[in-house]
């Protein structure tokens, strides 16, 4: 457990912070996609999701990955009720 804690701590070291920031910066620069465009894209994505599921707007994280080029969006969904219970009720 101690070693796992150490590993988690190491993940937040400034070297890896720099690496992750650079990856995001460079990918958006290579795609010629500015921070504003990213924000617009993020908002559109959330609106599309929001039509179908309750979305936690405060916890959204968007990351870009280089190899293979990929956009990773983490959009948390608010879980206010458990739909399985509804299912049981209706059946």
């Amino acid at each position: 457990m101690l070693f796992m804690a150490r590993n988690n701590l190491a993940k937040r070291k400034s070297g890896s912070v720099a690496r992750n920031r650079l990856k995001t910066i460079l990918l958006s620069e290579r795609m010629d996609c500015s921070a504003d465009t990213m924000l617009m894209m993020k908002n559109d994505l959330v609106q599309a999701m929001d039509k179908y599921l309750p979305v936690d707007r405060t916890g959204i994280q968007i990351q870009f990955q280089q190899n293979p080029p990929m956009m990773l969006a983490q959009i948390p969904i608010l879980q206010e009720k458990d739909s399985r219970k509804d299912y049981v009720k209706t059946v």
């Binding site: 070291k13 400034s14 070297g15 650079l22 910066i25 460079l26 620069e29 290579r30 280089q66």
Partner: protein, 262 residues
Amino acid sequence: MSEVIVITSGKGGVGKTTTAANIGTGLAMLGKKTVVVDTDIGLRNLDVVMGLENRIVYNLVDVIYGNCRLKQALIRDKRYNNLYLLPSAQTKDKTAVTPEQMIKLTEEMSSYFEYIILDCPAGIEQGFKNAIAGASRAIIVTTPEVSAIRDADRIIGLLEANDVTQIELIINRIRPDMIQKGDMMSVDDVIEILAIHLLGIIPDDQQIVIATNQGVPLSGRNSPAEQGYINICRRIIGEEVPFLTFDIKKGIFRKMTELFRS
């Protein structure tokens, strides 16, 4: 057959001029007839790093304007008689020269030299365009910092757009102790981000400052950085040389944790 290599970085202060001086000197040590060219018009620097500032009569702009012949402007190095410097002009600015004129100049030099090393100014404007115009090969110098790597990435794109196909990377001022602590991006991190071929790594080394103070590149008898530059020169001429590894003094705590992990 001569090779025209431009040393570039985008960001200033990462060690382009030092690298140009050391690679030029290293290639001369390996017996190659080499010229180092300062293309930073208006901000002359390579001459002082090489320790040849007192011998300048004519400069690059004089050659291009026809005020003198190429051989009159070339300065022979103090220690290696197969190493020459073509200094930059201090009184003109970057617009004094065009890329076409630089191509003509490098073509003229290629009949006398095996290696032509062009020290590129910082930035991506006219001076950069002039420097890369005649080059067939580029060496990008970066440090393991966010700003330098970002600029290096931009430069790679510009070089590719200008048909410089052979692009290689030097990572300068590596601090193995900081990498081990996780407070500096590692060599592998930088290569993964920039996705280009690694030519060499240069550790942060006081000896480089001392050599620059004295104006005598590669004078420190195999300090780590100088060993790094000599390895780079061997790779440039086609030898296969393993990359430097660094022994880091480990504290007792780290030794213990490694013992437990293994």
